[in-house]
Each structure stands twice: as C-alpha cells, then as structure tokens.
Amino acid sequence: MVISDYSHPNWRSYCLTLGLCGLTAVIASPLRNWLDQANTVMLFNLVVVAAAVYLGRGPAILAAFAGVALFDFFFVPPHFTFAVANLQYLVTFAVMLAVGLVISHLAAGLRQEARDARVRESQLKDLYELARCLAGIDSESALVAAVCRFASRHLHARAALFSMDSSNQLQAASGNDLPTTVVDSALARSALASGRPLVPVDDLSGDPPHAFLPLTPGNGPSGVLVLAFTDRPSRELEHLEAYLTALASLVETALQRLRLVEHSHESSLQASAERLRASILSALSHDVRTPLTALYGLADSLALFQPPLPAPARELAAALRNQALRLSRMVDKLLDIARFQSGRLTLRREWQPVEEVIGASLQFLEPALEGHPVDVRLEPGLPLLELDAVLMERVFGNILENAAKYSPPGSPINIEVTRTDGSLTVKVNDQGPGFPPEPEASRLFDLFQRGETEGARPGMGLGLAICRTILEAHGGTISVSTRPEGGGCVTFSLPLGEPPLVEAEPGLMP
C-alpha cells in the first residue's frame, strides 16, 4: 500500500479514550489516600500520551480535557463534585490541561511523521522497483505495459501514454490501459505547457479523477502520461504531487533512453549504407573506368590500323568507340550524382572571371558540340566570381551537351552573360524544341527525369539534376523556358559577392 493512511480517528477512538480516562479514575480513586495528587496527575497525563500515540490527536485532546475533569471530580476536595475548595487547584488544572495539550500535540505529530516516513519509504521502494523494471525494457510497448502494471498495482489507476505528433495532436501509444476517448486532451496540453503534473481537484462531474503528467524527454516529441484513478477521492491527490513527479521523470528517462537506442541503431545503419556507397563509388571509378578506357582506346586504334581496314570495319570501329565514350560519360555523371548526393559536395571556390570558365568549357567540349557554332556574348566589365571552376565546367558541359543534342545539326547556340542587381545571369539559347511548361519544367531537374518528346534520344536525365545541385551549392538558381521566337533557353544565375582587390603593378606607367 502506497498511499498514506489519512483516515481520521472515528468515534470508537473517542469512546476508547473516554473509557481509558474513566478506568484510570476508577483505579486511582481508592488509592487516593496513599497516592500523592501530583502522581495522580501523572497517571492522567500517561493516558493522554497513550491516546496520542495510539489513537491520534483528537482523542489525545479529549483525554486532556477528560483527565482534568475526572481529576477535579474524584481527587480534588470536596470529592465527587466539580466544586473546588482551594482556588490553588485552578493552577493545577491549567498546568495539567496545558501539559496534556502539548503532549497530545507532540506525540500525535511524531506519530504522523513516523507514519509519513513509512509511506515515503514504501513509495521509494515502489519507484525503485519501477526504475529497475524500466531499465530493462527495450521497446515503447514494453514501457507502456510496465507503467500500466505499476499504476494499477500501486496507484489503483489506469494509465495511458500519449505523444505529441508534428501537428501538435496527442497520439495514443499502443497498449494503453485507458481508452483515448475518456482523456481530456485540453487538460493534457495545459499540463504539457505548464511542465508540472496537473491534478484537477474540483472535478464536478463525479468521474474518477485524472492526473496528467507531462513528459519532455528532450530528444524527441513530448508526451503526457495520464492516470485515471479508480477509487480514490480527488482531495488526496494533492499530496501525491512529488510522487507523481518522480514517476513522470522515471518514464521520461526511459523514453529518452529508448529513443537514444533507436537513434544509435539508425545511425549505425546509415554508416554502413555510407560505407557501401563509398565502396561502390570507388569500384565504379576504378574498376569500371579502366576497362572502358581500354575499350575506347582499342576501338580508336582500329582506325589507325596498318594496312587500313576496309571501310565497313572502320565504321564499326568508330561506332564502338562512340558507344564506349557515351558509356564513359554516363559513368561520369552517375559518379558525380553519387558524390553530390552523399552530402559531401565541398566546393573549391576561387575568384575568377566567368569568361575563363566559359572558354575552358567550350574548349573541353569541342568534340561533343558536333559542329554547332557557339556565340558568346559577355556584358563588358563583369566582376570576378567565386566559383569552383571544375564544377562550373560540368554545369556548362551538361547544358551545352543538351543544347547540342536536342537542336538541329549545325544550328547555332548562343551564350549571353549579363549582370543584374546582385547576381550574374547566364542564358544558353538553342534552336531545339524547347522545354515543356511548368510544372513539368521544374521536374526536369529531378534525377532520372527526361523531357517527354525526347524519348528517342539517348541519355539518363542526370544532366540538369547535376547542374541544379552544383548551382545551388554556389547559392545560385537555374530554370528552363521556351523562347517566344522558338528554341530552348536555360537560365542560371550566380550571386556576385565582393571580389578581392587586384592591386596595380608597382611603378607602372598608366
């Protein structure tokens, strides 16, 4: 039994007290010629002590008054009357009453304290048991079961655990002992908001009272533990606050531990997935690329074969070479995407003129442009930009490759670079079929998404996704559109920043 026995002394205790006092008077009365009056007073005080210790404060006070009355009646001359011959006895009565009251107060206090200590000890033992039980559990449902068991055994209550979901709604845990419908969710929320156990005392409905214990484990959603007491008047729940707080903190700790276990399990899974990804990446970059290099080079050497091969064989060799090159570009793109997606895209940014990146990209891409003339128009006086040149070359490479692939052979591609407030805008225009309108246009930037109309063209739909990832890492944006006069347009912008100063050469004549 946990809850302290606050039951009040009943009428039997008072009768017993009166009986004891009467018995004392009856026993002491024949002895009054031998027994000093002071000792008789002591006997009555002994009764007060006994009543205080065994029966409580009320009977002890009754014993004090009854003792004074009986002493007056039986032992103070004139005997068998309440009249007092010598007024000095009034002092005796006063002192006797005062002593009796003080004794009853002290003894009853001690008794209450001893009782409380016993209750606290038993509460602590229960909580300790619960803590030991919760330390061994490994799932939330086991936690709920343990808490329900504890509540029904020690609190005569039914328990339910709720957690707050992302939309601030209470979600019942599985295995609750208490149906969700009977729980007042407004009270649960206000308990959670106040951070202290809420025990509504004045429950006018007459239902068994509920206690709401807020749980804030710190590493996850908060929750509320609700206890519905079955047979206890709500008035007494006030005394339980410390106990319930301790209970809540035990449950809170257990929840926190469960979530940590879950989290560490997840992160070890994540780490092994990351290891797998890294080993696949390194396998791809070396083991796939090496045979591709050999394939490409071997096919290419066939063209230089002496004596020259017949024309059909040379064409086959060229086709073989081109397919090997395409495969190699796909592997490159997949590797890029895999590298970026692993979340470790570190930029090696340096301040540089954008025309250098464009020029180098065009030089690098010359074979892939397949004879499309490229016209570059730069606004004069463009500032330096802080770019990762290697990655920006990939952006230009992917956009120009698409432009060359989707526009009619030999049609021009033009690149316009302009400066708008705070950013640099690059437009790549081609004579191709253009892009679908929104929202399909935005979807082209997702992985493995390709335009509908280009189904027959080779490709995987990685190029624009790579562009977007790189540009976003630079703080830029990218979009596609169809120009009113026809042809596709890819527009991207990059923030300008504050380029470092380039000091003039010392001693230079202007």
């Binding site: 050497s301 540089q352 990146v357 180098a360 030089q363 690098f364 330096l384 290697v390």
Partner: protein
Amino acid sequence: MILLVEDEPEIRRFVRSALEAEGCKVAEAETMGRGLIEAGTRRPDLVILDLGLPDGDGVGFVTDLRNWSTLPVLVLSARNAEEEKIRVLDAGADDYLTKPFSVGELLARVRALLRRGRTGEQDTHQVCFGSATVDLARREVRRGGEAVHLTPIEYRLLTLLIANAGKVLTHRHLLRDVWGASFVDSPHYLRVYVGHLRQKLEDDPTRPRHLLTEIGMGYRFRP
C-alpha cells in the same frame, strides 16, 4: 624510346601499338618501382605514367625521377582526381591526359613533349602564335605587325608560359615564379593577368587558342 608505366595490360596494348605505329620504341613497366628502375637503366625520352597504380602514388615517382632527370612525364589520370593531378604536376610532371583518351590525343601530347625535349636546348629568340610575335631577345611583342604594350608582370607571365610551351603550369607554379611565394594563395591575380594577355594577344579572348586554361589546374601555352 618511351617508357610506359601502366598496370592494365589492355591499356598498355593499345598505347604501345599506337606509339609503335608512330615509330617509337616502347618499354613497359607494371609497377612504379619497376618503372623507376627501367627509367634509370633504359634512359627513355619520355615517361607515360598511370596514376592509378597499386604500389604507390605518382608524386613519389615524379619527385624521385626529378632528382636526376628532366625527361618529360605524361600522366594518365582519372576524372575527379584534380587534387592528385595538381600534386603530380607541382612535383614536376609535364602534362596529363584524362581517361578515357583517344589515340589521337595521346599521340598529339607525346609529339609535343618529345619536340619540346629535343628543341629545349636550341636558342629560339622569336616565337610566333596566331597573329602575335614575341621577340624574346628584344623584349618586343607585336600583334599583326603592331607593337603591343605589356606590363612587366604580363611579359614575365607570357615568357614563362612560352618557355614551357606544351607543358601544364599549375596556378601555384605560375604565382610563385611570377609574383613570388607570398602570392600562391591569391590565384585571382593570375586569372586577371591571363585575361589581360588574352585580350591583348588572342583573336577571340573568350575562346583562346594559345593561352589555354586547364580547368582547376593551371594554364598551358600552345604555339
């Protein structure tokens, strides 16, 4: 004689056949250790070195080789290995090819490096490229017959690139030799000055034909 250090037999096979078709003799080595020994005993005119060898990195090989030889080194490397390429170029390698590469590209690089090796000692006081002429003896630069004014730094940068024609010079190398060691972390100086040179000497500065950018690495002068 060309020494080919490469562990993949099929790549060795086509590189060898291409070089032999050009009339070069080819020696092969499968590992870096073997490669260094071969380089010492056979005294090749050029080393082609794969960076993906199992027994060590190219930087050690090139550093070791540079202790006793200036023979040109062409590096074969994977894409995405920019940092490794920069380190091996800084260590003294001359040029690189990214895999996969065509036989045509390979032969062009090999010819350029061999030519440089042979003409290295000759005294050429005049260099022509595009419509520009640089007279190294008289420190004069002309374009289409008209004198072009270069600042001292521009001129120093240009002559350094010309002196290493065909070779990739890393940003670090150029900054150190032209501006001094304290500028190696300010690559924007180099980029701005290369831009100036292109404006003054290239026919289309946005699409240079001679002062070439090696993205993420450095620059190369192609006559």
